[in-house]
Amino acid sequence: MKKLFHEFLKGVIKENPTFVLILGLCPTLAVSVSVMNGIGMGIAATFVLLGSNIIISLLKNFIPDRIRIPCFIVVIATFVTIAELTMKAYSPALNRALGIYVPLIVVNCIVLGRAEAYAQKAKVINSLFDGLGMGVGFTLALILISAIREFLGTGKLMGYTPIRGFEPAFVFALPSGALLVIGLLLGFFNILKNRKI
């Protein structure tokens, strides 16, 4: 059990997909304008990661090595379609806000990266926790980035105004602001990492 928990925690902190592996930056830059978008994207990606990791881990003995990438893509695309249709049915506003980036989870490097690097070699239960950890890590990173961007760029947080009289810096609502925030957070986490040792 302890080992499984470690497997989960690894994705959240030590191998955080956004801040340590630097994967999946395209959706991170695009959807981290508001916290709601960040949470929605994170949950969708977590669902896809969980599903694809389990299925690929189950099928690992049946998938021929030479055509493994197309096989992974088929599995991932199935789960992305499920996520997209569910989102369309139950929260069309979120689906409209995320736009093309929901179907683009198919080619998200985190999902394919975990399938290639982990799920095709590991046991089903380990893959499950790995996918869950990676998904939670991605979601937390998205929430952190989008909270900073939403507050600085629009002066609001989840639709509320925390500080009155604060003049939002519009640049943080633009993609260039996302690059700035991600760069500074990366630097900050590197400082923390180096200090521990």
Binding site: E167, P168, A169, F170, V171, F172, L174, S176, L180, G187
Partner: protein, 311 residues
């Protein structure tokens, strides 16, 4: 006479120059433009300049203490950054704007790259563009000279297609127009630039090619017909002179060789003219210089001077 016979390694004759001294000379050369700006727009401009400089010095010192490096806040270079950033602001912006701009200039524009000599982009322009993208309503609210009434810059009026007739070349030359604090008085800027030329701190290569290219292109394509543009108006308005003589010539972010500097100046001129004539903004000098800053490493690579004796 005795000190001439000291045995030492070369070089034996030093010129009495240092980075710090040159930087302070540039500061001196910028003083006339600042005085003119304060005279034209009132005391508010003076406080903006002071705030810009103080917060730039403070940010540099704090970051160098935090990263445990030698504190070089008083070597003049960061003083110029704060000064130029304030010169690039309209005269009646809120007082927190130069502070935020200076902190961003020094922290993101300069110190994240490793400090003086390492930055890719001109820090003051990084700050200006950041402010421009963040708070456009303040950065484009220019005030009329000798008056606290907001007015558009001549370039903005030109962009909207209603060029005012009552502004003469002399008004533009002396700075009687809407604009940023340090960019309006061309006469004062040219006095400072002449000082730098005579002392040999800047060469003609970047500023002259920059102004000439921008003038030529606006002359060719500035009006409906070919070769009918008002090139003198374009040279005298906007931040072209300030940018060409004081920001494009920044040692750190411009090419090293003479050939490279000419390419740099021509590139700046082309981009400025293109943005002014066909772009969405009325003024493009700051974006032009930043874009050519990004191209500087590649210009340096292809204009390397040949080592003697090697093919």
């Amino acid at each position: 006479m005795k000190d001439k016979f000291i045995v030492s390694a070369s070089p034996h004759l030093h010129k009495d120059e240092s980075v710090s001294k040159i930087m302070w000379m540039v500061v001196i050369s910028l003083i006339p433009a600042g005085l003119a700006g304060v005279f034209i727009f009132g005391l508010n401009a003076f406080w903006l300049i002071v705030l810009g400089i103080v917060s730039a010095l403070f940010t540099e010192a704090v970051l160098q203490i935090l990263t445990k490096r030698k504190i070089t806040a008083l070597d003049g270079s960061v003083f110029i950054t704060g000064l130029l950033l304030a010169y690039n602001l309209p005269a009646h912006v809120p007082f927190w704007l130069p502070i935020v701009g200076s902190v961003f200039s020094v922290a993101i524009g300069k110190q994240v790259f490793g400090g003086l000599g390492q930055n890719i982009f001109n820090p003051a322009l990084v700050g200006r563009v950041f402010l421009m993208a963040s708070w456009p309503k303040y950065m484009t609210a220019f005030t009329k000279p000798f008056d606290a009434v907001t007015s558009a810059t001549p370039l903005a009026l030109l962009k909207e297609g209603k060029l005012i007739e009552n502004i003469s070349y002399l008004d533009l030359f002396l700075g009687k127009r809407g604009g940023c604090i340090g960019e309006v008085c061309i006469l004062a800027l040219l006095i400072g630039a002449a000082f730098l030329f005579i002392r040999g701190y800047i060469s003609w290569h970047i500023p002259i090619t920059y102004v000439f290219t921008a003038g030529l292109l606006t002359y060719m394509f500035g009006a409906k017909g070919l070769l009918q543009g008002d090139w003198l108006f374009h040279i005298l308005s906007g931040g072209l002179i300030l940018g060409a003589f004081f920001m494009a010539t920044d040692y750190v972010t411009s090419p090293l060789t003479r050939k490279g500097q000419i390419i740099f100046g021509i590139g700046c001129g082309i981009i400025t003219a293109v943005i002014r004539l066909w772009g969405g903004y009325p003024e493009g000098a700051s974006y032009a210089i930043l874009m050519m800053n990004a191209a500087t490493p590649i210009i340096d690579r292809y204009t390397k001077s040949r080592v003697y004796g090697i093919k």
